[in-house]
Structure formats: C-alpha cells, structure tokens
Amino acid sequence: MKGIVFAFLAGAFITLQGVANARISQNIGSWQAATITQLTGFIAAVLIVVIVKDQKWKQFKKVRPIYLTGGSFAAVVIYGNIYGIHSIGVTLTIAVILISQLAITFLIDGKGWFGVLKKEMKVPQFIGIAMMIAGVVILKF
C-alpha cells in the first residue's frame, strides 16, 4: 500500500511540475522557467548529497561519459512540455509524451542499444501502443 501511495504521488508530482513550469513561464518566459526550476532543484539535491554524506559521485568516472550527459536533455524536455501544455493542454501533452517515451524505450529494448539487455518485441507491446494512440485520438477528435 505504501508503495502505491509513493508511485501515485510520483505521477502527480510529474504532472504538477509541468503545470507549475507552464505557469511560471507566463510570467518570466520558458527558458527562464527551465533554468530556475532546475537550478533550485540542483541546489536541493546537492544539499541532500552533503547532508547524507553521499560520496558516490566519485564513481562518476566509472560511467561511460555519454551516459553522464542525459541531464542536459531536460532543457528541451521542459521547453517542449511548456509549449505543449500551452498549445494542446495538459492531458494531451502528457499522453503524447508518455506514448513517445514508451515507444522509444520499446525500440531501444528491442534493438539492445546503449547496452540494454535485448528483449524480444512481443505482440502485447504493439497492442498496448496502438491502444494508447487510439486513446489520444479519442481524447482529441
């Protein structure tokens, strides 16, 4: 039950983040919103690293450099999220992001790219994606 509450809150927070960014961008602009929210989030995370005496950042050098760059994608993600929410609404934006996210993960799993354990593409996953797209069509048209 505790796990379900955490997972539920995680989803609610992700959406709230998008909505808050969209609201902030109305006052100060989209790039500004992305810059400020991540700066404050970064400061909070660094504080936590210091407080819990986490020394694991020393292991960064063991990671292949390209994987360390993932965080920078967030600039475009947040910008796209804000743009989407303003032009097509929260529900449609979140739904489209989910589908394209699951589809790319599915593709990467199937191809075994980026050192991911190769998984066989199965029929249910195709049906799942088709259902999600059908849902978006129902949502919008």
């Binding site: 955490f6 936590i48 475009v76 529900t91 739904a95 589809a103 999600m132």
Partner: protein, 168 residues
C-alpha cells in the same frame, strides 16, 4: 497545434533516452549524486539554450513571484517517490501506477483550469480517451511478462524433474 504535438513527441523521446542514460549513472553513483548531476546539467543546458535564443534577456526576471524559487523542489519529491515506489512495488507495477496517476492528474488540471491555464471542460469523451490510454499502458507493461513467467516456471519444473530423476 501541430508544433505542440511535435514538441511533445520530441520531449517523450528525450525522456526515454534520458531515463536509460540516468539509470546507467545511477547503477554506479546512487540516487542523490545522480539527481544532483542530472539537475545540474539540465540547469546549464537550459541556461545555455536560453542565452542562445534570448541573449541577456534571459537574466531579466520581471514579474518573479516568491514561490517560483521553490518549484524546483517538486523534482526532488518526484525522485524520492519514484525510488521508493519502485523499491516497494518493482518497476512494472510502479511505472504503471505512475503513468496512470500522471494522466489522471493531467485531466484534473485541464478541467480545473487553474494557474491561468486554459480551461478544457471535462467530458466523458476525455475520460474514455484517458481510460483507453491507461488500458494500453497496462497491456504494454504487463503483456508478455506472464508468458515469460510461465516459461520460467516450466524451466524450473523441468529442472526439478530432472534433478529428481537423477536423485532416484
């Protein structure tokens, strides 16, 4: 509208890639060091692109409200809840709930139209659309895993039988 859709598709692709990359970092460096790195780089990238597209206008923060400074903390909440949820439920179940709750709360925000967002009235058509998407998420996440489990049980049974016959 088309540009909005394209931006959402691009954002989704980047989120998927980012998740894979971040998991690789997380394997070595743990949750908090990884979160700090990810947000730090996100900040630098946003600032850089902001300067590229808007020049020094980026640093002119008119109409700033106090709570804007704290919105970044939501991201910390996301990480804590994701990590705990996944730890307690396993990734498949946890992510299915996360996605469902994301969509459900999105529908709520649209129908409330708070925060100066355009209000999109709640209709049964929208609810059906969201339910079909959630159904798709469940089929996507849980479909095939049972077949795999069956295969595993078969193999286990087979091995047990073999070892039993060896013992005999």
């Amino acid at each position: 509208m088309l540009i909005g859709l394209l931006f959402a598709i691009l954002a989704g692709i980047l989120v998927g890639l980012q998740n894979i990359f971040n998991t690789r970092v997380n394997d070595h460096a743990g949750t908090w060091s990884t979160t700090a790195l990810v947000l730090g780089l996100g900040f630098l990238a946003s600032m850089t692109l902001g300067v590229v597209f808007e020049g020094t206008e980026l640093f002119v923060l008119k109409n700033m409200e106090t709570w804007f400074w704290f919105s970044g903390l939501i991201g910390v909440g996301v990480v804590v809840c994701l990590v705990q949820g996944t730890r307690l439920l396993g990734p498949t179940f946890a992510i299915s709930i996360v996605l469902t709750s994301q969509l459900g709360s999105a529908l709520m925000w649209d129908s409330l139209g708070l925060f100066g967002l355009e209000k999109i009235p709640f209709t049964s058509q929208q609810l059906i659309g969201v339910l079909v998407i959630i159904g798709g998420v469940i089929v996507f996440k849980f479909g095939g895993s049972r077949a795999e489990q069956r295969k595993v049980t078969k193999v286990v049974k087979h091995t047990l039988k073999q070892s039993a016959s060896v013992e005999r």
